[in-house]
Amino acid sequence: MAPSAIVLLLLAATYFIVPLYATLAFSLKKNEAGAPCCTLANYSWVIHNPDFWHTIKISFLLALETIVISLVLFVPTIYWVHLRLPRLRPVIAFLALIPFVVPPIVMVVGLLRVLQGTPQWFYGTPWGFLAAAYVILAFPYMFFSLDAGFRAIDVHTLTEASQSLGASWPTTLIKVIVPNIRAAALAGSFLALAIVMGEFTIANLAAFHTFPIFLQYVNESAGFPAGALTLLSFLITWGAMASLLLVGRRRRLGLGANIAGRR
């Protein structure tokens, strides 16, 4: 590796590591002036706080729900667009940009009004209202990831080959297409997970108690435990991503090589 590349790498690493280190140092301080380093009391406070477990569970389940709904909705849609309706692709790509352009505050106000008349089990719970909002929020990330995945394979030939061998549409989708866009689906899922785990505005305005809301509350009320909470949330999110990666790659360790070797 060239010396300039090493310098750049070190600079980038510093940019990411210094804030994390500062947070770690802060989280190990005692909540009293002049106390010596170090204590794990802040971590203990977080771990023994039932609100922490409650909100992280909600956010994590919401992320999973968002991922599942997005994949079920978008994989067959994008497959069909690539196969039969290629002229619709630019239209969908344009639609996918809307969540980037519309500020979350505008989106949440709009959604609260539009969905006002919906049943209470939908409107009043995070699993209904928030999940719907998060699917919209994750749409661009899912779409562009999946779209890139579908572009990397010969959708027409694979579909026709599968059909000529006797496979129906659902079998073709599940056994031939999905395994070959797995990397793209994983990438989209990571992004959706990261978005949902960190989304504050919509949850706050719609008055749902998710993990970012709890984090903000702790940050305002207890400085040192907030540092511990931030680091723990990092670890939990990374852990969740690693689990997704393991689940996604469990059946095909050579997937990366497959994609690299594809025409």
């Binding site: 010969d154 026709e160 080959a161 000529s164 061998l165 006797g166 395994p179 070959n180 090589a257 070797g261």
Partner: protein, 367 residues
């Protein structure tokens, strides 16, 4: 006995008539090639047979049953595609097993059949490799094994060799023919390579502009083309646009010269005809040493010499082309004057309608 029948098939794409009423019959266990240039409709016809597309008119009958509106996954047709079509997430064996899995065969039966077919295509050493670990030729072999695994009623091959290099292409086409004969499977093969079609088919159908120009055995297609297009598309031809001078003797006039052609006998005086002579049938002699153009001969000058391996091809003034052994060709260098004798018995004569679909400019060195 007819096994596969394409009956008056029409397929339009907007204003373009990709197929304009084609009729083809293939007997059980026969190998028929659809041959033609790009855009002639051959792949469209194959896709209709596979069920990936529907005709605007006409029927497809397999073994007496109309399958025109049957979906592709219920047609029992094995297909090998032009593009590499192996499922990238599966090994060679899993690819071959796929159709059997769909049919609910148990693991032992699937594996046995897959291994047997991979051995048939010479890939028993590569059963556990993924497509990206296989060469193009190997991938097409696996694709062939995969198509055969389901014991299809008809095997369809859509230019399966076009992405391969020349040597592999020849090897694989011979293997396709060997396996087809061994299994006795009815086969429809699409290609634009006339040499390939002639080498492996029982019958060849030459297509042009959405219609079948001529259908026959490879030898018939080569020796007795029925249209100017077929004559030029299959192999290379000297094309002498001529007028009948005397139908009783077979005398014609070409570029101010009189020639006698057996096949011109019985034609009406003044009729415009195309006299066709294969390059290997044209006899050349140097004209410098007192030999002059006479009888059935045309005077010409050698413009280029192209070494083609077994023969050398000479291109001359007047658009004449002759193939001869390299040793003989060395005596007729570029620039030398020659006399080209048109053999009276070997030339063919076709009527020349005004709208005859002639190849505008055939590359004489291309074939």
């Amino acid at each position: 006995m007819t096994f596969l029948q394409l009956e008056n098939l029409h397929r339009d794409f907007g204003t373009v008539k990709a197929l304009n009423g084609i009729d083809i019959t293939i007997g059980e266990g026969e190998f028929l090639s659809l041959l033609g240039p790009s855009g002639c409709g051959k792949t469209t016809a194959l896709r209709l047979v596979a069920g990936f597309d529907r005709p605007n008119q006409g029927r497809i009958i397999v073994d007496g049953k109309d399958v025109t509106n049957v979906s592709p996954n219920k047609r029992d047709m094995g297909m090998v595609f032009q593009a590499y079509s192996l499922f990238p997430n599966m090994t060679a064996r899993q690819n071959v097993e796929f159709g059997l899995r769909i049919r609910g065969k148990n693991r032992t039966a699937r594996r046995g059949r897959a291994d047997e077919l991979l051995e048939l295509v010479g890939l028993s050493h590569a059963v556990d490799r993924f497509p990206h670990q296989l060469s193009g030729g190997m991938q097409q072999r696996v694709a062939l094994a995969r198509a055969l695994a389901i014991e299809p009623r008809v095997l369809l091959l859509d230019e399966p060799l076009s992405a391969l290099d020349a040597k592999v292409r020849v090897q694989l086409r011979e293997e396709i023919r060997r396996i087809q004969l061994e299994l006795g499977i009815t086969t429809l093969y699409v290609t634009h390579d006339q040499e390939e079609a002639l080498a492996i088919s029982d019958h060849v159908a030459v297509m042009y502009g959405g219609v079948i120009e001529q259908m026959g055995t490879p030898s018939e297609m080569y020796t007795a083309p029925k249209t100017p297009f077929v004559a030029e598309f299959i192999g290379t031809m000297n094309r002498l646009e001529s007028t009948i001078v005397d139908g009783s003797t077979g005398e014609i006039e070409h570029a101010g010269m009189r020639l006698r052609i057996d096949a011109a006998r019985g034609r009406a005086q003044g009729e415009r005809v195309l006299v066709l002579v294969r390059p290997e049938a044209l006899e050349l002699a140097a004209s410098g040493k007192g030999v002059s153009a006479n009888g059935n001969s045309v005077a010409a000058e050698v413009l280029t010499q192209t070494f083609l391996g077994p023969v050398t091809r000479l291109k001359m003034t007047g658009g004449l082309i002759a193939d001869m052994s390299t040793a003989r060709a060395s005596a007729l260098p570029v620039g030398s004057s020659v006399v080209a004798t048109v053999p009276a018995a070997d030339a063919q004569v076709l009527s020349l309608p005004d709208d005859a679909p002639l190849l505008a400019a055939q590359d004489p060195d291309g074939l």
